[in-house]
């Protein structure tokens, strides 16, 4: 076991865990932040995506050692009132079906937009094809990213 200090959604949290325990499970099983989802556990689906210092990472592939001291943002912390441009666009276009993959989708989209505020289709295709959705919200995700980009531009 080892002690780490994690800064999750702006709050410092001490954890005492096996150094090999992935961030995904620290969030879900130790900190009860269950908005970050498990689906494959091996880095191939994107359901567990979180932001670390603003960059999208698959939390099932991160160790506490890597994440400690860095700013971790989960879906619960993307905005206070579900008002991040991505969340607004997702609501407007009614993107989710079952919703299970969507926290990962939204965080991947948020990271994309922060790097590339007006992404072209080809970039969206490339980035968002790494996240799996079995309900088939593909079309709406693509539209919603363009819409989020507009909303963010207006907010300035």
């Amino acid at each position: 076991m080892a002690k780490y200090t994690l800064i999750v959604n702006g709050i410092e949290q001490g954890v005492d865990v096996d150094p090999a325990m992935p961030l995904l499970w620290i969030l879900r099983d130790e900190l009860n932040l269950t908005g970050t989802k498990y689906s494959c556990g091996v880095g191939v689906c994107g359901a567990c995506t979180v932001l670390v210092d603003g960059q999208a990472f698959r939390s099932c592939q991160l160790t506490a050692a890597f994440a400690s001291g860095k700013k971790i943002t989960t879906i619960e912390g993307l905005s206070d009132e579900v008002t991040h441009p991505v969340q607004q666009a997702w609501e407007e276009l009614n993107v989710p079906q079952c919703g299970y993959c969507q926290s990962g989708q939204m965080l991947a989209a948020a990271a994309l937009l922060s790097k590339n505020p007006k992404p072209q289709d080809s970039i969206i295709d490339q980035v968002m094809s790494q996240n799996i959705c079995r309900c088939g919200t593909h079309y709406r995700i693509k539209k919603a990213i363009h819409r989020a980009s507009e909303i963010a531009a207006k907010k300035g």
Binding site: S39, G41, C98, C133, C135, Y139
Partner: protein, 725 residues
Amino acid sequence: MNRRNFLRISSFTAGAWLISDLIPLASDARDRAGVESFMPNPLIRIQSDGKVILYVMKQEMGQQVDTSLPALIAEELDVDPQRVQVETFAYDAAIAGRYNTYASASIRSSWQTLRKAGAAARTMLMNAAADVWQVSPEDLKTENSKVINPVTGASLSYANLIEKASNLKVPDNPVLKDLKDFKLIGKKNKRTNIKKILGGKQEYGIDVRLPGMVYAAVVRSPVFYGKIQSWDDSALKKLGPGILQVVPVSQMGNGVDNRNGVAIIATNTWLAFRAQQLLKVEWDLGAIPNSSTVALSAALKKAVSTEKPVLQFDSKGKASFFSKITDLKAFKATYELPYLAHLAMEPINCTAWYKDGKYELWGGFQAPGAFANNLSKAFGLDPSAIFVNLLPMGGAFGRKEKVDNAAEAMQLSKATGKPVQVVFSRADDTKNDFYRPASFHQLTAVADKLSISNWRHEVGIATFPAKNISSAQDIYGGPANDLCYPVNDYQSAFYAVESPVPIGSWRSISYNHNVFAVESFIDELAKRLLIDPVDFRMNLFKNGFDENNGKTKHMQRLQTVLQKCADAIHWKQKPLLKRFRGIACCQYTHTDAYTAHAFEISVSPEKAITIHKVVCAIDCGLIIDPDGFRAQVEGSLVWALSAAIKEEITITNGQADQQSFFDHDVMRLREMPPFELIIVESNENPGGAGEPAVPSVAPALCNAIAAATGKRIRMLPLIKEGYTI
């Protein structure tokens, strides 16, 4: 009873529509602190604070029943949509079957009843207001949770009428609104739970966290009927004190469908998964029938060519004999389809807590009826000893009709005395699925450009267990006797072959087999008869059905979607150079829905497919929630393309080979083609939305490939034939 905190429930015995139909007599009729409420029936609670609570009995898995079903009540009740709150109807063992959610049936089966529930409540509130004002209720109207007297301009809010209304009789035949007066049905309605999803606050089964809860992973028998011989957990020691217990799990049979296994109880999911890798179990696998994909495929073909069918149909239904076509002019073709898994994004899981002889469970289930009917029997309990907290599902697609996970969690909670959450790893989920069965189709027909005189559809299908033919035939994939084209002499036959792996419902059930085979064959016939495939279908439709049992109407609706789909892809105009088109249609008789898909594609010499456009035309009757409906059809396209192009479960030693998205790829965002959806306006009864737009996708695409390459696709998925997207 405290006057300020009471509940008025109308006599639930009134209203024949209520008793005979979907709405239960028992109800979630609990007092709520601080408000008076009136429940004219178990699905509606009108509170003195102006809030109206509508209850949903169907299980949410992404199909948005939490929006569409309440809209049906709210429409007739004329409530202020801003003040409506939607809640799930708490599980009640006495009526467990009514929570079942499959076959795209939620709206179809309950839409009139839900409207009547709303209309009856509204009538009672109007009668109450009429009594206050001493006028006739016919002279009053309702709007935004108020009864209004148009003559005087007076109004009374529903909240102020609940006491009076609750003393009135529930009307037997409440008058329903005229379709043209709908304000919510068919309009874009606010999605009830979307903010929860967007904020990461929606609680799925896997997110349940209870005080003192422990986590379990199970090493399950690699084959369904395998038995534990011994196990060795010595390697688990190095994982430390987080490993709490190792407990065997027994197979229970009886519609419970779990396997024998050995569970590791740990302090977190990750540790349980790690221990699962280290635990060694010796199995007695027993005899495995047709234990590989190759053996099964051979057995299916052999059955069709040499055995007697186990079931046969003619155009009227089940028949007593089957005869092959011997005419030398007959066309013949065969098609083969693989096992398919579900891979919902939320892996299978369940949480159980055994206390004082009773079980409380948490999870997402498509068939809560199984708790009262199967699990309680298997555990030797009264159905009331099991209570389930029904949670939304992170995808289901037919897989979550099973309760194997619940049986495990219940056994483990009893063994540990703690609340236990069982989580299937992704590999567990893929390898312990109930698969869409593999099938082999042989079609034979005598036809000319104008008609088909003789038609035979023979299907060999993997059944499990071997003797269970009925479910395999109807639900999972056997031949249907509802061919949508009129033919003179129709017969179909069903040959059962014992499956090495369990089978189950898979989004669009038997249709995804049969429509693929039939629509590929029709295209093939048209090519051989040198007639355009749309013209050929239209010619066939012209022959009409003799029997007047609804088939003619089905056919007309199908014909309309086919025509609209063909028009939208400009079927009659030549495509650009090196582009080719394919079309197919599907009469989804189970849920009264009609769909056609058309593709425009090109195929490179290296077999890389580029899809330039897909059109879908669909008639699903009256549509309650158009945006949710569109989402279902979009999702169906992704689902069906994924299966047609990429997905297959192969079997070695009676076990699925695949385990996760790295060896079982699915459709990605960049692979989705431009898509046009045409919804045929209709006032027919609402049909199902979740499934009917799946089956015609694969044959339409494969018909386009045949047009482009001259090569017929006889086997899915396409990657197996070397195609890429």
